[in-house]
Every structure is written in C-alpha cells, then in structure tokens.
C-alpha cells in the first residue's frame, strides 16, 4: 500500500494528465456556447479518467504507482508535442482570459448574480467537505453491488469480474470506474464519492444552457442552474456512489445540445459529435438512458434543420479528432455489454428483456401499468411532498424539494401556455418521464429514475417570470416564495446528514455511518483488517462493509461445501478463518445445517451479528 504522500503525488499526476487530455480535446468539442462547452470539458475530463481505468484494468496495471508514472509520462508527452501544446494553451486562454476579464465588470453590473455564484461555490465547497470527506456512501445499492466492484478492482489491480452472489454486479461499470479512479491511489474509499460533484457541475452548466435556449436571460439562467442543483435528490445522490447521477448529467447535457437549432455546418458537426460521445459514455454507466431517448428524439426533431441532415449524410466531413473521440466513447460504452456477451451470452445480462426477475432487475419492457403505479407513488401516496428525510434510494418519495414542487409546477404550466419553446421542452421531458417510469420495475424507489425532471420545472419558473412578466406585487410575492423554498430545498437535502447519529461519527471517523451501524461495529471489532472472509450471502446483502474502508479484507463466496465435511474444513481449505453468514437460519439450508453442526461440536464460534470464526482464530 503506498504512503499517503506518494499516493497524493500519483493522484495529482493522474488528475493533471486527465485535465491536459481534456484540454487537448476541447477545441474539437466546442460549440461557442460557454456553458455547454464547459459541460463538455468536464465530460471529457471524466471520460479520460474512465478510459485510463479501463485501459490499465485490462492490462492488470490498475495500481497507484503504475497509473501515476504513466500519467506523468503522458502529461510530459502532451506538453512536449507542439500540436497538443498549442491546443492546450488555446484552451486555457479561451477558458481563463474571458472569465478573468468578465468577472469584475459582471460583479459590478450584477452584484446579486455575483453573490449567488459565490454562495453556490461556497455551498458546493461545504457539501464537498461535509459529505465527501466525512461521510462514506451509505446507500443500500452502493453497499450491495456498486462499491464491491470498486473494492475488487482496487484489490486485484485489474477489471476483475467479481465472483459475488449479487447478479447486479455485472451491470455496466462506467460510473464505478470513476469511483475506482479516486479510490485506487490511496487504497481507500475516502474519496470514492468525489465524482458525483463533477456530475453536479455538468448538471448546473447544462441547465444554464437549456434555460438560455428557451429564452431566459443571463441572471435567470444562473438562478435556474442554482435551483436545479439544489433539488434535494441530486446532492444526496452525489455522495453515494450510485450511478443515477451520470444518467441525469448525460440526459441534461443531451437536452442542452438538442434544444437549439444548428447555426452552421461546423456547429452541427460538433453538436452531433458531442451527442454521440455523451450518449455512449452515459450508456456505459447505466443503460436506462435508452428509456429517456424519446424526449431527446423529440427535441432533435423539433430543432432539426437541413444542415443537420446534410452533415449526418456525409460522415466523411467529420474531423479525425471527432471520429477518434466518438470511437473511444463508443468503446468505453460498449465494453461492459461486449464483456457480458462473451462471458454470459447476453449483452444485457442479468436482464431478461420483458421479464421482471425476482431480484428486482429491470425488465426493459414498457407498460402503462408501471406508469400508473409510479404516478400513484408520486401523487396518491404523497411522494411529491417527500414527508421524510431525503435518502438516495428515494423510497416512496420524489426528492424534488419544495422549490420545484411548489413554485416550479404551477409556473411551468403557465410558462407552457405562453412560450412555444418551453412547451416543446416540457413535453419532451414529460415524454422521457413516461417512457422511463413505464420501463423500469415499479417498486417504491422507481421515482429515482426521474430525478432529472425537476430541472425543467426550475427552468419553467424563470421562463414564467420573464415571459409572463407578472405585475410587480405578484412577481415579488412569487419570487419571495421561490427564494424561501429554494433555500429550504437546500436545507432539506441536509436532513439526510441530520438523520445520522453524529456522536457515532465523532467516535469513529469514517468507519461507517449507516443504517447498518451495529453490523459494521461488530465486523470492525471481530474480524482483523487483513483477514480472508468467506461470505454466504443472500442475493441482496450489502457485502461492501466486509472489505473495510481500505479494501484490506479478501472476500470469497461460499455457496456450497463442494464435498467438504464441515464448514471449518472448507474454510481451512480456502485459507479463511471467518464466515459471514447473517441469515444462516433462513438462507442456504445446506451451509446452515453444516454450520449448526460445527457450532454444536465446537469447531466454530459464534461472534454474533452473523460473524462466525474458526476455533482458534484471533
């Protein structure tokens, strides 16, 4: 394991390489719209990280030292080559100079706007400090199958196919690649949930661009962006290592690109390049982007011009750089599906199209009954009004927050009456919402697939203010409600943290703050950090906690005894001293009966909370 200092140097070297590569790509991805271009830059930065994880993982070099050295050499090569150096310096000039020039003047002309951006940055910094550095990811799905992937990759230094009972572990891992990138250097999950904040930045920039495309003025766009990232479900998701936020960022960036018409052939080529790259990278994180496609297709149709057809019908007109970017993104997106196809015979494994599995695995088949159930959770069962602290799996709640619900919904309805552009946008979002809610399993947490929807409601509020132009007294009252609920939305997203037992955090920094606290404490106390643990798990047990925060414990799966006479014999043969079997009275009766015999005959000890130790182990 590297020393903290060496790990930090390697991480900085890797981040510098990712940033320089993104800068070198940026001229190919620029459309001339500042917000969309910055969102594309952040996407490129994340894309390079994903590419580095996949490339190093495939050759078994996904390790701190190897990545740090390769990235340092890559950075020097990028700066030494005159072509890339010119692109990087042009990019930095294009990024830094206008901001430096515009800042003082803009702050003088629009003090409220400048203040809002400072508040936004401070809020994000606070969240970064609070949630990323202090709190580990606490979501059930993260602990069940997202983070175990990360732990296995970091332990093995490769894109090892995990041997775990949770079948969902085989789903695409683009999002986990980013978590693993931040975890591999320090061999710790301390920073694993950092990437969520880059997705929040993309969401803010995309909403800014969308608002501009439907006619909102610049100050209004900034407020749209701020109110959209304060929707409680988003910052909560940003800290949990779930893969819903990449889909939100990808969908909103696609909507930002497609909610305006092409201005020239060059602009059309860049937009279609970006569209393909973003779609591929997002599908590599989670295939549910495909369910959101109808809304994007509607926006494409509404804004299509002859130029777009001309450009698409002549693919040779695209530059080699654009083709390379799309090819790389297509590889990164398709990698997981091809792997599953080769290994399991189905690219979508473990999904069986058209069948709802008992594991709660998505069926992918559209059904109006699912839409009705989801709307029932939203309206009849009060999911729209939350009614409990917002948690990432959004069980029977929408997590949209008071601003989008109280101000966004009525204002969007009014804005849709008066603005044709906004009407098209709202209809596209509604179409995507119906499509996704009709295509996923309609369980109590299905509303988390629609956490991108409040963005259009936030935009609607400002379209209403700017197009309807209410009389001054009414406008002031509506704006006051907006400010109050917007602030309350930001505050309510903190209730997730507030619901945690903070005294525990003070005693055990970062060991674990979760609803599984007793279990974690038991594991911390009874199983040594470097132990090999056999786990006999039900398909949905949150096994990540077994690895430990520095991925030091090795986990092997025990499903059958494979001819061994007893559990202790099986453990000895596999180099393990401990068994984790939390449901041994109700799950896997073969192993359960063998364990009962071993306990009765004194070969195993019950250490409580599902932890069993071989006689004589520490």
């Amino acid at each position: 394991m590297p020393s903290p200092f060496a790990a930090s140097i390697c991480l900085l070297s890797a981040l510098a390489f990712a940033a320089l590569s993104a800068f070198a790509m940026w001229p190919t991805l620029r459309t001339g719209r500042a917000a969309a271009d910055c969102a594309s830059l952040v996407f490129a930065f994340l894309g390079v990280q994903t590419a580095m994880v996949v490339a190093s993982g495939l050759v078994g070099a996904f390790k701190c030292g190897a990545l740090g050295c390769v990235c340092a050499i890559g950075s020097v090569a990028l700066l030494a080559a005159s072509a890339s150096r010119a692109r990087i310096s042009a990019c930095l000039r294009g990024l830094v100079v206008p901001i430096a020039r515009a800042m003082p003047g803009a702050a003088r002309r629009h003090p409220l706007l400048a203040l809002s951006w400072v508040a936004f940055a401070a809020l994000l910094a606070l969240r970064f400090r609070m949630f990323v550095l202090l709190l580990p990811p606490t979501s059930f799905d993260s602990l069940t199958y997202h983070l175990p992937k990360v732990a296995q990759w970091v332990q093995t230094g490769s894109l090892h196919l995990p041997d775990l009972p949770v079948k969902r572990v085989f789903w695409p891992g683009g999002s986990e690649c980013l978590n693993a990138w931040w975890a591999v250097f320090h061999h710790s999950d301390m920073l694993a949930n950092v990437p969520g904040h880059f997705f929040l930045a993309i969401i803010a920039l995309a909403v800014y661009e969308i608002a501009g495309n439907v006619g909102v003025g610049r100050p209004g766009r900034a407020w749209c962006a701020l109110s959209a990232v304060l929707v409680p479900a988003l910052p909560v998701h940003a800290t949990t290592c779930l893969n819903d936020l990449p889909v939100v960022a990808g969908f909103l960036h696609l909507a930002a690109l497609m909610s305006r018409k092409s201005e020239s052939e060059g602009d059309a080529r860049t937009r279609w390049t970006l569209c393909a790259a973003v779609a591929c990278l997002t599908v590599g994180s989670k295939p549910t982007l495909a369910f959101l496609a109808p809304g994007i297709l509607l926006l494409m149709a509404a804004n299509a011009r002859r130029t777009d057809f001309r450009v698409l019908l002549h693919p040779m007109g695209f530059s080699r750089g654009a083709a390379a970017i799309v090819a790389a993104a297509a590889f990164l997106g398709a990698f997981w599906y091809v792997r599953n196809w080769i290994r399991f015979g189905s690219p979508l494994y473990p999904v069986v199209l058209g069948e709802n599995s008992e594991d709660g695995i998505q069926s992918g088949a559209f059904s109006l009954a699912s839409v009705r159930l989801a709307l029932g959770y939203l309206l009849d069962k009060g999911g729209l009004f939350d009614g409990k602290p917002v948690i990432a799996n959004l069980w029977y709640m929408a997590g949209w927050g008071p601003f989008a619900v109280c101000c966004g919904i009525p204002a969007s309805a009014a804005a849709a009456v008066v603005s044709r552009k906004y009407r098209v946008l709202l209809f596209a979002f509604l179409l995507s919402a119906v499509s996704v809610l009709g295509s996923v399993v309609p369980d109590g947490s299905c509303l988390r697939f629609a956490i991108w929807f409040p963005a259009v409601l936030c935009v609607g509020f400002f379209v209403f203010l700017e197009t309807v132009r209410p009389p001054r007294a009414i406008a002031a009252t509506v704006a006051a409600i907006g400010l109050w609920t917007g602030f309350f939305a930001g505050a309510s997203s903190l209730t997730n943290a507030a619901a945690i037992d903070w005294s525990f955090l003070r005693r055990h920094p970062r060991s674990s703050v979760s609803n599984l606290r007793p279990l974690v404490l038991k594991i911390l106390r009874t199983i040594p950090e470097d132990a090999t643990v056999a786990a006999c798990l039900w398909r949905e047990d949150p096994l990540y906690l077994l690895y430990g925060p520095r991925f030091t414990r090795r986990i092997i799966t025990l499903e059958t005894l494979d001819g061994a006479a007893s559990i202790s014999e099986w453990l000895r043969a596999n180099g393990a001293d401990y068994l984790f079997f939390p449901r041994y009275r109700s799950w896997n009766h073969e192993v359960g009966a063998a364990l009962a015999r071993d306990l009765a005959e004194g070969r195993m000890e019950d250490r409580g909370m599902g932890v069993f130790a071989r006689k004589g182990s520490k």
């Binding site: 009614g387 309807v468 005294s503």
Partner: protein, 68 residues
C-alpha cells in the same frame, strides 16, 4: 391589448414568446400561479416541517459537548 416589451437584447426571445399576451391574461396567469404555489407550499410545509425540526433537534442533541 398591451404587448410585452423587450427591455434588453438577451430578453428578446422571451418577450417575443409573450407578445400578444393581454394585461388581464398576465394578471390572471400570475394570480393562478401564486395561488397554486401557496396551496402546494401549505401541503409541503405540513408534511415536512416537523421532520426538519426534529432533525435539527437531533443534530443539536447529539453534537453538544458531553453528549457521549
């Protein structure tokens, strides 16, 4: 009929969208939005205020010196 005037170049699109909206229509729409916002906020407040209050008390209780 009072047409909505654009006040700055960047607002031109928005104002163009609202062109032709009468003052009575603007007032009616605005009042409808205001009333709906207040009604929805009343619902939201009723469902969430107690949670926010209890969460704040919980943090205050568990973080105060000597709570351990």
């Amino acid at each position: 009929m009072t047409a909505v005037q654009s006040t700055s170049p960047q607002d031109a699109t928005g104002a163009a969208n609202a062109r032709g909206l009468s003052r009575a229509m603007r007032v009616a729409l605005s009042l409808a939005v205001l009333c709906a916002s207040l009604a929805l906020y009343r619902q939201y407040h009723a469902k969430n205020w107690d949670i926010a209050r209890r969460a704040a008390l919980h943090v205050a209780r568990t973080m105060r010196p000597g709570a351990l």
